[in-house]
């Protein structure tokens, strides 16, 4: 005996409209009184059936029949099959109808002393079922004794009134709460005759109506759920029929986002937003980082991080953004370690001898000096990357975690403004974007994102990447005039704005982005404003977002 409380409950309540939700059902299921009613029902029915039950003929077993048909069939095993038919007839998607005679809903009727259970099968009356179809559990009909009148099923499987009802399917689109809905009803009859829908009644007022003139459903639904439609239709214009269909109204995804705080006592606690502003000697740098909706929704942390610095003695600026892998448990710490470690190393180097040397080479900017700049940055970034990886590896050992669980991307620029020119050396490991923008309509992408064939695939900073012979391809240097903004961002910003690799090199898309952030940058609190701006809504793009801009 399996526990079929739910099946019995569903069967017993199948005629209740509106249909009970899963939640309501499970609530009922748990009530002692309900359980009592159901167990009494199945017990009584069982006793009844067992009295009537002759040993059933054994059906030929199908290839992987799970269990042989038992000698005595308890109603507990019959009910689900019955329920199934019932549900099939009743819980139809907008294409089939319970009214259809081939799918007459099953009913259990008590006729004098006999119980007939017809299992819904095409045009088979119970009396015709001389033996159960293979693998189907059915109550065998006792052989007739002399003089006995064959029992008629209380519910003929073919209802004469509906016998002539043609088979018609109705199709229409699903709706969404708060979004204007317009869908023509696509009605198709089995033999291709044109079907006219005359009227549609709804189980609830959901904000949708039917226009018979246009044969369209229209309106703005106000509540989500699955609702029964009663469709009155005709083929010949004389006789009308009614069919049921289901209208699915989805919730508005924007209304579903929850904001759950991450655990305050976590070993790698990180604030949900972070921002920093530098405004020195005409150099302005703002960075902002914000937890994505997908993390807010489940109460996990922001995985992104950043580092910015400017040295007024030497004029060098450093900007770094890092995006911890969503699939890696400790990546929020990984992105923090990588950006801080690489950032402080780069700052220190640029304050020293190397910074001076590079500055004079850049000021000179002759072919000879240009040749020297590349290798110096190659070494510098390789060392920065090594230190970042080492910091992560040490942390992993210290905390008994895997290095992989700290996976992060790392995008960095070392830049300097000399007179009206901007020099920048960029390092790009992972997805996101680095670009030198300006004047309007012109953008220079400082590298290429690492992306795979499928969404969410990228490369993370690790020793393999550092030792790869193509490491230098991750570094790009240049000096340009009229650069108004140097911008770094994680994929939380670049995906919604640029979407594809071709999008990243489209100056129109960059114009749009810069236009959006200009008002923030003109404010006294540019970094705070950027943090607010990062909350923009873009369907399907809900990752953490981090941006660093120098202008």
């Amino acid at each position: 005996m399996t526990n079929n409380t739910r099946a019995l409950l569903t069967a017993g309540l199948s005629n209740v409209t509106p249909r009970l939700s899963e939640l309501e059902l499970s609530h009922l299921e748990k009530q002692a009184e309900i359980q009592h009613i159901l167990s009494r029902f199945s017990q009584e029915l069982n006793e009844k059936v067992q009295q009537l039950n002759a040993p059933p003929p054994l059906s030929p077993e199908s290839i992987d029949q799970a269990e042989p048909v038992s000698k005595t069939t308890s109603v507990d095993e019959i009910m689900p099959a019955a329920t199934e038919s019932d549900i099939t007839a009743d819980n139809n998607p907008p294409t089939t109808f319970a009214q259809n005679d081939n799918e007459a809903p099953l009913e259990i009727a008590l006729v004098a002393e006999d119980i007939i259970i017809c299992i819904n099968s095409e045009a088979n009356t119970a009396a015709e079922m001389s033996e159960p179809p293979p693998t189907e559990v059915a109550v065998p009909i006792s052989p007739l004794r002399p003089g006995q009148v064959p029992v008629q099923s209380a519910v003929p499987a073919t209802a004469p009134k509906e016998a002539s009802m043609p088979k018609v399917n109705f199709a229409f689109a699903n709706a969404r709460v708060g979004t204007a809905y317009l869908s023509r009803i696509d009605a198709s009859s089995h033999y291709g005759e044109p079907v006219t829908v005359q009227e549609i009644k709804f189980s609830h007022d959901i904000g949708i109506s039917f226009n018979p003139e246009t044969q369209e459903l229209y309106g703005t639904p106000s509540i989500d759920g699955d609702y029964q439609l009663f469709i009155k239709w005709t083929i010949d214009g004389k006789s009308s029929h009614t069919s049921e269909a289901l209208m699915i109204v989805n919730p508005d995804p924007r209304s579903l986002w929850k904001i759950i705080e991450p655990p305050a006592d976590d070993k790698y606690f990180k604030s949900n937003t972070d921002h920093q502003m530098i405004d020195q000697d005409g150099v302005k740098i703002a960075a902002a980082s914000r937890r994505g909706r997908s993390h807010e929704h489940v109460g996990s942390f922001r995985d992104d991080d950043f580092f910015i610095s400017h040295d007024s003695e030497t004029d060098w600026s450093i900007m770094i953004v890092a995006d911890g892998a969503g699939s890696a448990q400790n990546s929020r710490r990984g992105s923090q370690l990588a950006s801080q470690t690489a950032g402080s190393y780069l700052s220190k180097q640029m304050q020293g001898e190397l910074g001076q040397k590079l500055k004079s080479l850049i000021q000179d900017w002759q072919p000879e000096s240009q040749k020297q700049i590349g290798p110096l940055f190659s070494d510098l970034y390789r060392n920065a990357a090594k230190l970042a990886v080492n910091a992560i590896e040490s942390e992993a050992i210290d905390m008994a975690q895997t290095t992989k669980s700290y996976s992060t991307t790392l995008l960095a620029t070392v830049s300097i403004r000399i007179n009206d020119e901007l020099f920048a050396a960029a390092f790009w490991m992972g997805d996101g974007a680095i670009a030198a923008y300006g004047p309007v309509g012109k953008v220079r992408l400082l590298g290429m994102p690492d992306s795979g064939e499928y969404a969410g695939q990228t490369r993370f900073l690790d020793n393999d990447a550092i030792n790869d012979s193509s490491f230098n391809n991750r570094i790009m240097i240049g000096k340009w005039t009229e650069i108004t903004h140097l911008i770094l961002m994680t994929d939380g910003v670049s995906d919604p704005y640029f979407e594809t690799d071709n999008g990243l090199i489209s100056s129109d898309k960059w114009d749009l982005l810069v236009n959006e952030i200009l008002p923030c940058l003109q404010s006294d609190q540019a970094a705070e404003k950027l943090t607010e701006w990062l909350n923009f809504f873009s369907p399907g793009n809900h990752d953490d977002r981090t941006i660093a801009v120098s202008w």
Binding site: A7, I63, D64, Q65, T95, V137, L256, S327, E453, A455
Partner: protein
């Protein structure tokens, strides 16, 4: 828009008749309702349902969750468990439907696969061959569910190391399985390294045992 394709392969062999398939239908409906309450899923999940008995069929082609209209799955009166045919159809559909990144197009998330059977493959050779092809493809996760006492784990563990088992074929077991499926789906859309193979799954509810 990046889609998260989810393929659900269901055994519709003869032994699934009656309560088991009814429970599966109820479970899928519950799964859809749960997913619709997840905003991320509502925007990105696309579902396809494949059934297999004596042959494999595309019960519902890959459709956005928002446009999904579930029709109850029915079990033919008798039929074997041609799981190999089911996997072959899966490969065909994934190759046809799933978008890869190009310069002009953002690829889909790597597809997730949930396979449920209450038996073992009748076409064992084809099944083994198909697994070879499956391994060449970048699935985000493949989760196999052995439902009931007759389901053979050893076949499923060839396909994936993520096998779960259900003791019974009733609605309690299936609805908890499909609820867990919806929780796993929500995890399928997080960034992962190019070399990464499997996503981590949420812990299963008590009705489900992880097969190690």
């Amino acid at each position: 828009m990046r889609r998260l394709p989810v393929y659900i392969l269901l055994d519709t062999s003869g032994s699934m008749r009656g309560e088991p398939i009814h429970s599966v239908n109820v479970g899928i409906q519950a799964m859809l309702n749960a997913l619709k309450q997840d905003p991320y899923a509502l925007e990105s999940v696309h579902i396809s349902i494949i059934t297999f008995d004596n042959e494999a069929r595309e019960h519902i082609p890959l459709t956005a969750l928002e446009n999904f209209q579930f029709t109850d799955i029915e079990v033919p009166s008798a039929g074997g468990t041609f799981m190999g045919a089911g996997l072959e159809l899966l490969i065909e559909l994934v190759d046809r439907d799933v978008k890869r990144s190009t310069e002009d197009q953002k690829g889909d998330w790597r597809p997730l696969v949930f396979l449920m059977t209450d038996g073992s493959p009748s076409d064992a050779y084809a099944y083994t061959q198909a697994i070879g092809e499956i391994k060449k493809r970048p699935f985000g996760s493949i989760i196999a569910c052995a439902a009931g006492p007759k389901a053979k784990h050893e076949y499923l563990t060839q396909l994936t190391d993520q096998v779960v088992s259900l003791d019974t074929l009733d609605s309690t077991a299936f609805s908890s399985f499909f609820k867990w499926v919806s929780a796993s789906v929500s995890i399928g859309s997080s960034s992962a390294g190019i070399a990464d193979t499997q996503s981590t799954l949420p812990p299963p509810p008590p009705e489900i045992q992880l097969v190690l």
